[in-house]
Subunit: 200 residues, 2 copies
């Protein structure tokens, strides 16, 4: 049986919950409070030296972390990842865009504003990231003006980008400024097996 | 013919140069000076809306960016990416680790200290990133104490991690503190087709 170490409000964790739900794969869930240092214990670091959730224990000695690597692991050979080499490479491009240009600028401001107290984060860095986050959203908006999904159909790049984008307002973004993104939210939510981030 | 838009000192660009050299794939090279805003022109943004190098134009209307997506594109089906699903997933894990936990903390301090002037970057943010960069190097060090490469053999995760790690001292790290990493440098440099980052 799989065991997912995760923090419920995490968009990165939500990605893994979504793909496993879409594919009907059962798993045990271990609430791991990053605010209480539960990813920095010796036991956790022995499993994932990078001390981050989501971390997935396969129960046979294998452990996989990095949300987008977990998405690719389960999506390979399914409708959630294109088989065509070029289409797959474009999905990879969006997954790395998400982790480099999007997540640090959308998720970190949300975490700081929503889960920390003023003084626990740097105001200058917050504003810099919010500006970069807005640029990342604009790239998505422009793309979605001409495309329904971040791939030939709904798949792992949609899951990865939806996870934090739909909560971007909690990090100071105005999602109403991005009508193509909000229309895409509806298409994502209409997928069979979709569940909100809060769902246990 | 492929055309690589790249900035010579970039580790991300170097990754692409290395895999293409290993595979003997010819390409045209366009020096694109990020310090002069050459990735922010209308022509460049039409090709890659994220305005970043490396960007690879396939010459047939296809364009691919994100260095690690480009690595995966060319490595698929070669010795540089495992065919085994689990081994491939662990390589993906290292590639996302590189872009999220390593590159922003190793490459950005190098860029700030080496290519910008004091006052053009935030000192507090620099120190924060250097500390996180040291933690990323320690994760690599511990892994390399028991493993020769970041996969069953030399491959894309080694290329991705080598690109900035071997220049980490330019960002304020002390590579001499990491003997397993410096020993791995020698194994990487001994690969057929290896070339230094500066090589035209």
């Amino acid at each position: 049986m799989l065991t997912l170490y995760d923090f419920r409000p995490s968009g990165n964790g939500y990605k893994v919950r979504l793909i496993l739900k879409h594919l009907g794969i059962p798993y045990d869930y271990v609430d791991t409070d990053i605010l209480k240092g539960e990813t920095r214990t010796a036991a956790f670091l022995a499993m994932n030296p990078n001390g981050k959730i989501p971390t997935l224990d396969f129960g046979d000695g294998r452990v996989l972390s990095e949300s987008n690597a977990i998405l690719l692991h389960f999506a390979d050979g399914t409708a959630f990842l294109p088989g065509d080499p070029w289409e797959k490479s474009k999905v990879h491009e969006w997954l790395f865009f998400e982790q480099y240009s999007h997540e640090p600028n959308i998720a970190s401001p949300r975490f700081w504003l929503h889960y920390l107290e003023p003084g626990q984060y740097d105001e200058t860095e917050l504003r810099k990231r919010q500006k970069a986050g807005r640029a990342a959203l604009q790239i998505m908006e422009d793309y979605l003006t001409e495309n329904a999904f971040f791939g030939p159909n709904y798949g792992v790049a949609d899951i990865a980008l939806y996870a934090y984008t739909h909560k971007a307002d909690e990090g100071g973004q105005k999602l109403a400024d991005f009508p193509a993104i909000t229309a895409w939210f509806e298409r994502v939510c209409a997928q069979p097996g979709h569940a909100p981030i809060e769902e246990k």
